[in-house]
């Protein structure tokens, strides 16, 4: 089965699943597979990505790293604008278009970010979130080798994200791999401290990442920072007070 067919199959099977109850226990029916992939990714990180990121951090001044973050963030501008529009947020979408135009020109093809200071902040939107807003259930937690935490809905949506980013406008198809590599290494270099701390602060690293991903993803889809009433009750009601 080709990769694309596999992804389509996953999305379809996710659609067939009933919406998952949002309770305290993180739904993870594919845990054996996920844990194996997670371990693989962690080893890859420990032996390859983290050392490379450390080297990168040593060689590249902070300003260069920040500029690269800005540059790659700007390439996602059209995708962010489109998804805000699809999610029924025309004002945010317009701000994203303005941001993309300003940062691509005044910001020298995106290496600088004057738009944030001019009231056009960076938004985090992708097609997976749009599907979530449209009511498509995410399906179970799923860890991909190399790509990391995801779910069937968001995995399928990556195809749309790829098309709607402007990598392919800037550069030939063959440039995708070197650009993705630089973007990944640079992002890893930025997160050296955070990841180290996260590992140290967790008692079960796999569960910490899974829960963090699920909570963060839910917050992004719902575009809000507070919990629903049921989530709130599940989380903050003491056992003694429950009947």
């Amino acid at each position: 089965m080709s990769m694309r067919l596999f992804v389509i199959w996953l999305v379809l099977s996710a659609l067939a699943l009933p919406a998952i109850a949002q309770d305290g226990d993180d739904h993870d029916p594919w845990m054996p597979f996920n844990r194996a992939m997670f371990t693989f990714n962690d080893k890859l990180d420990i032996y390859v990505l983290e050392p490379v990121g450390r080297g990168w951090n040593y060689l590249m001044p902070k300003r260069v790293q920040t500029s690269l973050v800005n540059f790659f963030d700007n390439l996602h501008g059209p995708r962010v604008a489109l998804n805000n529009l699809l999610q029924g947020k025309p004002r945010d979408s317009a701000s994203d278009v303005g941001r993309f135009l300003v940062n691509s020109t005044v910001g020298v093809v995106g290496f600088f970010d004057p738009a944030s200071g001019w009231g056009m902040p960076s938004h985090d939107e992708d097609f997976g979130q749009t599907l979530g807003v449209w009511g498509v259930p995410s399906g179970p937690y799923l860890v991909w080798p190399f790509l990391g935490p995801s779910n069937p809905r968001d995995s399928g949506a990556l195809v749309v994200d790829y098309i709607t980013s402007v990598y392919w406008l800037y550069a030939p198809y063959t440039a995708t791999i070197p650009m993705t590599t630089v973007s990944t290494v640079n992002a890893r270099a930025q997160a050296l401290e955070t990841v180290r701390q996260l590992k140290e602060a967790s008692v079960d690293y796999y569960a910490a990442i899974r829960n963090g991903y699920l909570q963060r993803r839910r917050a992004l889809v719902e575009d809000r920072r507070n919990f629903s009433e049921e989530q709130s009750e599940e989380l903050y009601k003491l056992e003694d007070d429950k009947e």
Partner: protein, 210 residues
């Protein structure tokens, strides 16, 4: 007619004075009681002050911040929420041990951040009362390097004082995250084993006293 008007005016004046006095009393009452917003604001200011104090070394900073955390974080409620239904499987002494080890784990791992302070500032952006009487205070952490991020504090009143029972960073709740982490260990090996795991981890991570 004039008398009537005067009487009304007089009545109005009395009413106004009563209103002002009541407002003043209410304000004084609130100040004395220290609302959830004040608790978060004061704590954030004090912590930033300690972190920025060049006269203190890392250990002194850690010690001071730990004292503040003990004062404003309700570690008992935090522990109960994190263990959820498994809390009752522990006896009183074990519950105390758990609270103690969990607090130690948090202060050891997050205490290391004192050396990483890079002029971050906390700004309160809003607050609201929750259905169950808890209070949520929204803050934004501004960093000289990089995008700001959002941190929400949930507070609950205990013995007349507002104390923090959860920290939610960019939508990720600390309570929910630890609950999920402890779930598997507790349902497989029981909560007593979890105390042991935490204790071992803490003993290994304890910074050497110089």
């Amino acid at each position: 007619m004039i008398t009537a008007m005067r009487a009304t005016r007089c009545g109005l004046n009395v009413f106004l004075i009563a209103c002002v006095a009541w407002t003043a009393m209410a304000a004084k009452h609130v100040l004395a009681e220290e609302g959830p917003r004040d608790v978060v604001g004061k704590t954030a200011d004090t912590v930033v002050g300690i972190l920025a104090d060049k006269a203190l070394n890392a250990d002194q900073k850690r010690g001071k911040i730990e004292d503040i955390a003990r004062q404003y974080f309700d570690f008992t409620t935090l522990s109960r929420l994190v263990l959820a239904r498994h809390w009752k499987e522990l006896n009183d002494e074990q519950q105390n041990q758990f609270v103690n080890e969990f607090r130690r784990h948090l202060s050891l791992t997050y205490g290391k951040n004192v050396e990483k302070y890079d002029n971050e500032k906390a700004v309160i952006t809003g607050d609201r009362e929750e259905k169950d009487g808890d209070w949520t205070v929204n803050t934004k952490i501004l960093r000289p390097s990089g995008e700001p991020f959002l941190v929400d504090y949930r507070l609950r009143k205990r013995d007349g004082r507002w104390m923090v029972i959860d920290v939610v960073i960019e939508g990720v709740s600390l309570v929910a995250n630890f609950r999920s982490q402890f779930q598997e260990i507790v349902s497989r090996d029981g909560p007593v084993k979890l105390i042991q795991i935490l204790r071992d981890k803490n003993d290994k991570g304890e910074p050497l006293k110089s």
